[in-house]
Symmetry: C2
Subunit: 333 residues, 2 copies
Amino acid sequence: MSPSVDQTAALDLPALGIDIGGTKVAGGVVLPDGTITDTARRATPGKSVSATEDAIAAVVEELADRHGGPLVGVGVGAAGWFDRTGDTVLFSPHLAWRNQPLRKDLGTRLQRPLWVGNDADAAAWAEYRYGAARGSDLALVITLGTGIGGGMVIDGRLQRGAHGVAGEWGHMRVVPDGRLCACGNRGCWEQYASGNALGQTAREVANSSPAAAASLLERVEGQADRLTGEHVATAAAAGDPLALELLAEVGTWLGQGIADLSAVLDPGVVVIGGGVSVLGEMVLGPARARLERALPGRGFRPGPQVLAAELGAQAGLVGAADLVRRAVAEGVA
Amino acid sequence: MSPSVDQTAALDLPALGIDIGGTKVAGGVVLPDGTITDTARRATPGKSVSATEDAIAAVVEELADRHGGPLVGVGVGAAGWFDRTGDTVLFSPHLAWRNQPLRKDLGTRLQRPLWVGNDADAAAWAEYRYGAARGSDLALVITLGTGIGGGMVIDGRLQRGAHGVAGEWGHMRVVPDGRLCACGNRGCWEQYASGNALGQTAREVANSSPAAAASLLERVEGQADRLTGEHVATAAAAGDPLALELLAEVGTWLGQGIADLSAVLDPGVVVIGGGVSVLGEMVLGPARARLERALPGRGFRPGPQVLAAELGAQAGLVGAADLVRRAVAEGVA
């Protein structure tokens, strides 16, 4: 695809990174050291495939025009399940894509070298290259937001599984016959350790014990069903004891799941990112405490380090930019 | 180490494979195509480290003497947790090893190139090279015996985790506050899907509903607490309806765990080996049925193929032999 870039020079050039969420397309010009030198964004018209692609193209052209100089290509991370090649979006929870040949569509549209893939994978790669998982042989990045996303880097490669959908550990079943999940199953991990889980538990407590939840209920004019994870987080930051307890409960479920993942994968580093991770030690402290008690083989083996993500909300676009850089260098963009 | 072998010739030469279990050391001369041309065995004196090493050395010398010709080296698979390098056994459930520098000890003793590692890892490698997982990009091998062991091959490499103890998925927690496990935790997968689990469930049923379990109880003179997984397996093979139901229950737990592992790793192939796997479709049928219902994202993504292991009880020694062959070829034995 044109404009073509010399493979050998690719690793030293800036690239565009694009992060497609449910509400916006965010893009940036990213240098090889992970620095973002410019950004742009558009609203995501979630219901229309072609309008979403229009928004992506608009962000790319705006950034490329302002940048002027050479760009390796465009890395696009989106909330969705991609096939192993990254050519096709199998399914996207917030967007209209169903078996959409996104890579082909965007290739035709943008006429630039492309990497296309899952946003949590892109964020995981960024943490491995520039953040908390830097240099780890086996790093898991767990993204705690509305649900749980994730990505893993094994021996310096993003590992996406046999069909492209590895790292969906939010849907491990941790409670038989447990809470119903949007995926159609019950008891998925993300129903116990996520922003949604926090809100759900708060609503349950407030409905069954309004007196115990009085200070939380003040935030929603007494209407328990309006409580969200955000309310709990704000209350916890203000020192509310029940809110802190609810965060610790989410942290404990997080730690248990990390213990389970350690039984399977034995990671060296587990990085916690996503919106919930800004709560820091209020969640990570209880997670580490649980992991220490629940790690299979504790006493005979080391467990993973559990670290907060370092790159924040920009991780996805920084990672996507670096992934297109590598894809061009390897001749696969 | 001597006798040295030309690195480039290593892949074309026979190797010795040794499998160390709780009761015996089994060894074989294994050709590059996986064929076993000779075998030998000794009892494992489990309580003594040096006596176990004596038994290994005796098997090696017996096989090497009879073989006469060149041998690449010795691959040793043992039930135990090894560190990432394979130099040290961290812990072995049946043997006396605790932080034992097994590789150094055996190297000094045998004076031959060595691969040393977990027996389930060696068996997984054998299934990848010669068996049901042949050529898969991402294969998990689940060994159902007394408990659950396992190994994984990702992109043509045995993946042992950051500290050498990946694949211990038998200790994923699948039931909060569930059955007590020998590992000290509760609710581990292997308490629901293994030979032990089969026996445990049979005893529970026989104790609480002796009438329903009458035909099983006949096998143990009415003493429910003597029932084991073996009894259930034998009864199932004879068509006993309760025994078949208990096997289906184990199969269902197996399928659920495969669904959980698919959320994490998205394998292309999952191979079921170990003693329980000889029960074949009585376990694998219910496992596949559960996987089909529980696979996260079913309908939008393919799941793994679930296949019976092909190499049987010899998988460990065949895999260990091939692993020392590869280690010599790569200059790391």
